[in-house]
Amino acid sequence: MSVEAKLVAREDGTLALVAPKPAYWREAPKKGAVIVPGASIGRLEVLGGLEPIVAPKTAAGRVIEVFEPKLARRAVDAATVLLVLDPNALGAGAEIAASATSRATEGLVFRAPMSGRLYRKPSPNDPPFVQVGQTIRAGETVGLLEVMKTFNRVTFGGDDLPASAKVKAIVAEDGADLDAGDVILVLEE
């Protein structure tokens, strides 16, 4: 169970994240941290119980102001602005988190959405999910990423990618340890 902060768009273009109710706010993010939609922004202590508080689904930006940054436990109420975000000051880290893919200098690429070990085949004896020269469509599987013993299916798609594209090259090897944002496929439209 988690609660969501309230989002208030302010006239100067910044976003205010407001506490939903009276509580002690703990584990606040620091100034300069990047907040993405649904990210944790600490925990609320209500009558001794702790519940996570997360950013609303439409909030993203770099933290430019923190309520009472020096305190470990801050008394807040339903009108307290916890964080002020600047949505236009996103750093490289945020881009990766917000969108796993982008047009890079080398052309159209598909990047790893998170870090982990890449498997290009469903099992060792099966053919790979993707081969050079094929056309890949949104929603089709690119590979599996093993993160902390959990296999995550990586599917093709992204805000700035076409619905389908031809695979020009496969950059990441089978079994490679990738960081979030590492290029997996190079594509052409």
């Binding site: 939903p20 109710k21 009276p22 002690y24 009558l47 008394a75 307290t80």
Partner: protein, 447 residues
Amino acid sequence: MPLFHRLFVANRGEVAARIARTCDRLGIEPVFGVSEADRDAPYTKGRRVVVLGPGRATYSYLDPERLVQAAVQTGCTALHPGWGFLAESPRFAMLCEHHGVTFLGPPAAAMHLMGKKTPAKKAMRPSGLSLIPGSDGVLADLAEARSVAAETGYPVLLKAESGGGGRGMRIARHEGELERAYTEARAEALAAFGDDRVYLEKLIERGRHVEIQLLADKYGNVVHLGERDCTVQRNHQKLIEESPAPMLDRAERDRTFEAAVRACQAIGYVGAGTMELLLDASGTLRFMEMNTRLQVEHTVSEERTGIDLVEQQILVGAGHRLAFTQADVKLEGHAIECRINAEDPSQGFKPAPGTITTWRAPKGEGVRVDTHVASGYTVPPFYDSLICKVVTRGATRDEACDRMIGALEGLVCEGVPTTIPMHLAILRSDEFRTHRYDTGAIPGWKP
């Protein structure tokens, strides 16, 4: 014994302003829990507030966790629940105590006992309070309903054990109507309260509503502050309250005072509370229910006794003994209260939220005005429509009534309709002045 430094006001509007007034006099800092709709209300100006949540009471004034957490984080060691909202919730009282906040009301156990209809009735019996004849607890089946109704005589009223607000109630005027009333009351009770248990009482029609103000400390000392008559009602909603009660036999009154005090001692009651009774045609006062909180009309008893009931709640809550005995309580003159609601009496009392453009409260000898509004105040649509209470005092009932007429004529409230025209019609009517009315109809008022 020290008092509290800071007190949390877990309510809004008129009662919040009322509690703060006594806090100011006692040197206690009040902290208001407010919803977003009440953030800019005049009574919060310059005060410490905690914003609880949205205007809808479910996420603000009715959320026990938000309220207690707000009290804790502002360093309040006492909490006043006011009336309505969570004032009679044993769970809320318990939550306060568990987190080191003194709940200014009775112990949760006494509140729980009086919150259930038939256990409350049973608890009152040994003290000698007259009860409304009826079933001994909840009814087992229709056959029991039949035999009890035959014993008490028709008409009878079937009432939900967990009921309130007039729901889960059915009248049977003769035996032929009993089965249907029994079935319908159960079905409505189940739907409204999740509990289909019902009990049966003789229906007392044309009665008068009389109640007794009680005050108890933690050491078994209980006094009463006299009675109030609240017969002028609309759909169980009180409109005018006064003290002393007209048409009440002195001996019956004194007998009931003593029994009510004994009953409070027996259940371990603490703080301010009210026994609500029905004065039947034979002149007997019969117990209906106990309200385990401060009431809207407490002002009437304050005006007659000179005792500040909120102050007494705070003192008793802090562990003080009552500083006076029954013999010290002097009931003087006559006091009457009119509830001014933002409602349109000519439109079937339709609530009328809106902005009060001009507000001017009346002044004068024997006139008291309790309100939270001011010019420019917007009555929010989320809560009840009470905007002001005018209380007048006089040596006689007529003097108090005449002062009330003068006060209401001098009250200026522009922007929203109020119940003032109705009050004036009642106060000027012969029916009201000569006591020819009961709870069935509003005297002197034809909408």
